[in-house]
């Protein structure tokens, strides 16, 4: 296999692997830009993945599966919202609780309902989001470079992959070009300013948290009914945390988020490709070392080696007027 071929294949799998990260990272972005820390991305994704797996298996419809994922994920988001916005509780504790609940409940219910060790039934392709081939992908294949990129990397993904990549510019546009975005950015920086401008802080934050729920629903559905053909226990495998790391890495900015998620997805793809292959000099690199890279990079970033990453000022701080 020549180098170009390897690169194309790795990039193609990086695209797939970065999709759940992208959705979850954007979910975190909406939430944290509004001032609600979201460590429960992982749990919402998992809940969504499970719901999608179940509903798609029962109804045979991928779309209904996606809808179920979104609803369940919003439900979890609202729990987090109620704890952290209405009750002004500790947002980390609430997020961690959601992760535990999601991980426990999905395993328990999966086993109780389907009895396959926490897996949902294997889905036929008709109940999944399958790869679609973009127009002219075949004839383009023969055009050098651009053709290969188009037909091998850009074409041939499921609808959800394209949705993820469209969500990035869309989020940028919402954040910087719409009234909602202006208010969202403001409420995460200084909720007092938003309140005195006659805007409800709680309602702004709830909306942000709900959007985070929707996006985590997409991420979960992607995992269980697009990338795989069914849910399996703890299938998010820490992607929610990597997405959180990507969010910090991206300095809470949507276009950076694309870069960060793609980088982390690419590292993942490389790790998979290198499994069992020995490199010159260093020999075989343990998978764990590669998997830890996103976190290591984020720590290096936080330590101030790659510019500065400053969170929204009111991130994680409940809004109270009375001292």
């Amino acid at each position: 296999m020549d180098f170009l071929q390897t690169l194309i294949l790795t990039t193609d799998s990086a695209v797939r692997l970065s999709v759940p990260l992208l959705f979850a990272c954007l979910a975190g972005l909406y939430s944290e830009r509004s001032g609600v820390v979201d460590i429960g991305l992982e749990g919402k994704m998992l809940g969504g993945a499970f719901a999608a797996g179940c509903v798609a298996a029962i109804t045979g419809s991928a779309w209904l599966g996606l809808l179920a994922a979104i609803l369940v994920s919003i439900g979890l988001a609202l729990v987090h919202g109620y704890a952290s916005i209405t009750q002004r509780g500790n947002q980390i504790v609430s997020g961690v609780a959601i992760n535990f609940v999601a991980s426990g409940l999905t395993a328990l219910l999966g086993q109780a309902w389907f009895g396959r060790g926490g897996k949902t039934p294997q889905l036929p392709n008709t109940a999944r989001f399958t790869e679609i081939t973009l127009p002219f992908a075949e004839p383009m294949r023969n055009v050098p470079v651009i053709g290969r990129i188009y037909s091998d990397i850009i074409s041939g993904h499921s609808l959800l992959v394209y949705a993820a990549f469209i969500a990035i510019p869309l989020t940028w546009w919402i954040l910087y070009r719409t009234r909602f975005g202006l208010r969202l950015r403001a409420v995460g920086e200084n909720p007092g300013a938003v309140d005195t401008a006659g805007i409800s802080v709680a309602w702004m934050r709830y909306r942000a948290v709900i959007i985070a729920g929707i996006l985590c629903g997409f991420a979960g559905a992607y995992l269980s009914i697009a990338q795989s053909a069914g849910f399996s226990k703890d299938m998010t495998a820490g992607k929610g945390f990597i997405a959180l790391a990507a969010l910090v890495f991206a300095k809470w900015k949507p276009l950076n988020a694309l870069g960060a998620c793609f980088l982390f997805g690419f590292l993942d793809a490389v790790a998979i490709r290198m499994q069992g292959t020995a490199l010159p000099v260093v020999g075989e690199v343990p998978v764990q070392a590669m998997q830890a890279l996103p976190y290591i990079l984020t720590v290096i970033l936080l330590a101030g080696f790659i510019g500065k990453s400053i969170p929204p000022k009111a991130d994680g701080v409940p809004y109270t007027k009375e001292r």
Binding site: G181, R185, A186, A193, V194, G198, K321
Partner: protein
């Protein structure tokens, strides 16, 4: 007029009548519309009438049975000591807080104001004491927030830009709409707040302690604008605790004390002395008595101190000065000009990037570590500016607060365990000596009033008998009675031959306590003046208009780069 402010007994009756006739106008001394600047019939209806407003924060009564009438087209002052409840009352009017009970009438109509949206809708605008700005937003974004004019920003922003330009010209409130707020000096940030209110078409404008962050010249400019707004028929509510400002600009003034409205008077018929008496409830001495200072040895010397903050902004620029035994050196300046950072670097709360500090002639390491404890061992005590944030652990009882920073002294116990009895006994002594009320060492710091909290901190630091005391804003948020007490103790300490470095944004305080006055502007000391310096002169220096005297100043850094007196 006397009936005006001696109204408290009358209130009981007034309350009674009120329930019978909500539109009662002939109440007590604050009859509305008495002030002649309004025209036509509408002048009879007051712009604002508050009846029986009450608000509690936990155990604290911030507002108790407040009545207030504000005539249309007037500038109405509200004066009271820190903590009197002025901000709370105004925030209720602006819908930021909800009153526990009471009624609000705006232009004669009874209104429920559940949030600021409603307040804005009925024409009320407010410039908050602590600005409500999104710091990393541009001026323009801050102005349009909440009134964007459509779901998409593009068009609304363009409209706002031109509207802002018009307002800026009309009211002489020039500002760059694209500037990022956190990069603006405080005076201009306040301008953004005013523009926000005007942009929303406010008819009734509340300004909460607007001059606290302004130089005297900037304050004059603000007052001119307020006068102009009044002449256009707008109603202005001006909150302050500075008597002179009230006398200079208001038509009427209402006085608050400890959450209650003491009364309202026509400004033209009152005097500074009478207002002070109403504020405090008794006759007050506005001046501190002190003798000539007798400076001794140099205790603290600061040379070429430079402090750069986390963002990389130079806060203190090559500052040098010294403080001798037996003198109080005051550092004056509008807040935010580097005084806080200077004080924190000297006291060991933050590191400096450059410079030397000597205590009793011996150098302290100021650049590589910030070690407040070491400075305490060397005879420096520090009363930080913000007692809630850095002066006290408000959840701790008084006795634990009393040993903070000194907890390793032998008398409080050896080895692992604290000697609780010794601590308790000493705290009791200190509390009596500083007249802290109630003198209960087991009471949580949070449960003392502001003045008593401040006395706790002062007692902790001053009872150690330090060679040098660094004290920041010693009387911020403290009632006049406690101010007198604190000032007296500081003078006593000076007379006992101690060195004191005083940092305060209250020019009056600096002028009445200091033996020498250093003025800071934009991170540098722009000059030194002796005790008797006039307010005008100091005010000019605070605005960065450097030394006009031409006398070579030992303390002054050679900085004449007057960055426009914006």
């Amino acid at each position: 007029m006397r009936g005006g402010w001696n109204r408290r007994e009358g209130l009981i009756n007034g309350d009674f009548i009120l329930h019978l006739d909500e539109q009662a106008t002939a109440r007590g001394g604050d009859g509305s519309g008495a002030n002649g600047s309004g025209t036509g019939q509408s002048a009879d209806v007051p712009a604002i009438r508050l009846v029986g407003i009450e608000k509690r924060f936990g155990p604290v009564f911030a507002n108790r049975n407040i009545d207030l009438t504000v005539a249309k087209g007037s500038i109405h002052g509200i004066i009271g000591e820190n903590g009197a409840g002025k901000s709370t009352l105004m925030s209720i009017l602006y819908g930021f807080y909800q009153a526990d009970s009471g009624d609000i009438y705006v232009n004669g109509k009874r209104q429920k104001i559940p949030d600021s949206q409603k307040a804005i809708a009925i024409g009320i605008g407010m410039v908050h004491q602590h600005f409500m700005l999104v710091e990393n937003f541009s001026v323009l974004e801050n102005v349009v927030l909440g009134v964007e004019g459509g779901a998409l920003l593009g068009k609304g922003m363009d409209k706002a830009r031109s509207e802002l330009k018009r307002l800026a010209e009309e009211y002489d409130l020039r500002i760059d709409p694209e500037a990022i707020v956190e990069e603006l000096p405080v005076g201009l940030q306040q301008r953004v707040e005013i523009l926000k209110a005007l942009y929303r078409g406010a008819d009734i404008l509340i300004l909460d302690e607007p001059t606290g962050v302004l130089t005297p010249a900037e304050a004059d400019h603000l007052f001119r604008i307020l006068g102009q707004l009044r002449d256009q028929g707008k109603t202005i509510l001006l909150i302050t605790h500075k008597l002179r400002e009230i006398m200079a600009i208001t038509d009427r003034v209402s006085v608050m004390r400890r959450g209650e409205m003491v009364g309202s008077v026509h400004t033209a018929e009152t005097s500074v002395e009478q207002l002070a008496e109403m504020m405090v409830g008794r006759h007050v001495l506005l001046n501190v008595e002190k003798t000539e200072s007798k400076p001794g040895d140099e205790i603290l010397s600061v040379e070429h101190l430079t402090v750069i903050d986390k963002r990389g902004v130079k806060r203190v620029k090559d500052v040098s000065f010294s403080v001798h035994a037996g003198e109080i050196v005051g550092i004056a300046g509008v807040s935010g000009n580097g005084q806080s950072e200077l004080m924190e670097a000297v006291a060991g709360m933050i590191t400096a990037s450059n410079g030397t500090v000597r205590i009793n002639g011996e150098a302290v390491d100021v650049t590589s570590k910030a070690d407040a404890l070491e400075r305490r061992h060397r005879g420096m005590a520090h009363v930080p500016e913000d007692r809630h944030r850095t002066g006290l652990v408000t959840k701790f009882p008084a006795r634990e607060n009393m040993i903070l920073g000194y907890q390793d002294q032998k008398k409080y116990g050896q080895g692992t365990f604290l000697d609780l009895g010794a601590i308790l006994k000493e705290t009791e002594e200190f509390m009596v000596d500083f007249d802290v009320r109630p003198p209960d060492p087991n009471l949580k710091a949070a449960n003392f009033s502001g003045g008593n909290q401040q006395k706790l901190v002062l007692a902790r630091e001053m009872e150690r008998n330090p060679d040098i005391l660094i004290v920041g804003q010693p009387t911020r948020g403290v009632d006049i009675g406690a101010i007198e007490f604190i000032h007296k103790r500081l003078i006593e300490m000076r007379d006992a031959g101690k060195a004191i470095l005083l940092v305060s944004v209250e020019l009056d305080e600096i002028r009445s306590l200091s033996d020498r006055i250093l003025v800071m502007f934009d991170g540098t000391i722009v000059g030194e003046r002796p005790a008797g310096a006039s307010e005008q002169e100091l005010g000019l220096m605070m605005a960065g208009i450097a030394d006009t005297s031409g006398v070579a100043d030992k303390a002054a850094t050679p900085s004449a780069d007057t960055v426009g007196a914006e």
